[in-house]
């Protein structure tokens, strides 16, 4: 399946999880980690989080806001929101196809 973040390698999936976490507003690193763990049931390590955050920021997909104490929130940019929507639509179509092949109907 084509990815919108092909050069992210092993950080493509963590990056998608981060973008989903930021989709309802700016968050700092710890809040993103909690969001991801709540959503997937798996923890995201701090090393992975910041490797993905750095890549997303470099690509202009997210941007850093002024720090609050020492914690710096991040938010989606316009490009990031478009990128996330495209990825989610593609995943949704892929999931629908899988469910159809299993003979199950989507909820």
């Amino acid at each position: 399946m084509e990815s919108n973040l092909p050069e992210f390698g092993r950080f493509a999936e963590p990056s998608l999880l981060i973008l989903v976490s930021l989709s309802d507003g700016p968050k700092h690193g710890y809040a993103i980690m909690q969001d991801v763990e709540r959503g997937t049931g798996r923890p995201m390590g701090a090393g992975t989080l910041y490797a993905a955050l750095a890549r997303l920021e470099e690509r202009g997909i997210i941007e850093a806001l002024p720090p609050e104490d020492r914690r710096r929130p991040y938010r989606l940019t316009a490009i990031g929101a478009t990128n996330l929507a495209e990825q989610l639509h593609r995943l949704s179509r892929f999931a629908q196809m899988g469910l159809r092949q299993l003979g199950e109907t989507s909820p």
């Binding site: 923890p43 390590g45 701090a46 090393g47 989080l49 955050l53 002024p66």
Partner: protein
Amino acid sequence: MIAFLIRCYPSSWRARYGDEFAALLEERPVGPFDVADILLGALDARRRSRGHAATLSSGRGFTMSLRIGGIAAILAGILWATSLVLASGTILEVDGIVTGLLLVAGAVTLLVALAGLSAFQARAHPLLSWVAFAVPAAGAVVSLVGVAGMTFVGDRPMVGDLSPWYIWVFGTLTVFLGSGLFAIVTYRTAALSRIAAITLGVGSVAVTLAVLIGAVGGVPEAIGIVLTLAGVVSFLVGWCALGVDAIRLDRISAAPRPA
């Protein structure tokens, strides 16, 4: 332990993320999984540290391209609209040299605007953005050749049987069609204002239609004039709005961030 883990990262990374990373690690206990993950992250950051310096430099270039592209887009819209109105001779008769200079300035600023804004949009959709850059940019170059030909060759054939005027018209039509393509890509990437992109797209299509109707004939002249005026105004407003939006985004990106 936290200080040791952070020291594993390269200094450029620590300067940017060190403080917030330390704050994050202080918020929860660091277990063996975290240590391994952080060490792998540090390895990744070191591997990319040379590229990171290049990225910082490209980040500065990115905001610069937005600013220059935005200013050039506003100027290009104004120069193209003014020169087209003057070239039509319907509102004001001016010296041909003035119109020619405006056409040249319009083509050059449009090239700068397209390069700057495409560099920004290419961050999300490289192929689409550079195709949308290539078509109007090629049109602007052909239009420049046509203007130069009108100045130095006059009405004589310049390429085959074509006089410079036809070359200029071909280049200008390509600029309008290419601007329409640029508008579609801008709408698709949503990197800049979608309303501005729609306005530019409408203007590009309207002017192209007006020129084609004028060439084919059979349509009342009034319709052609209205279509041309509406198209030129929409083209002008579209480019100016894209320029203003790019400058606004540049200000947001370039805003100083407290350390």
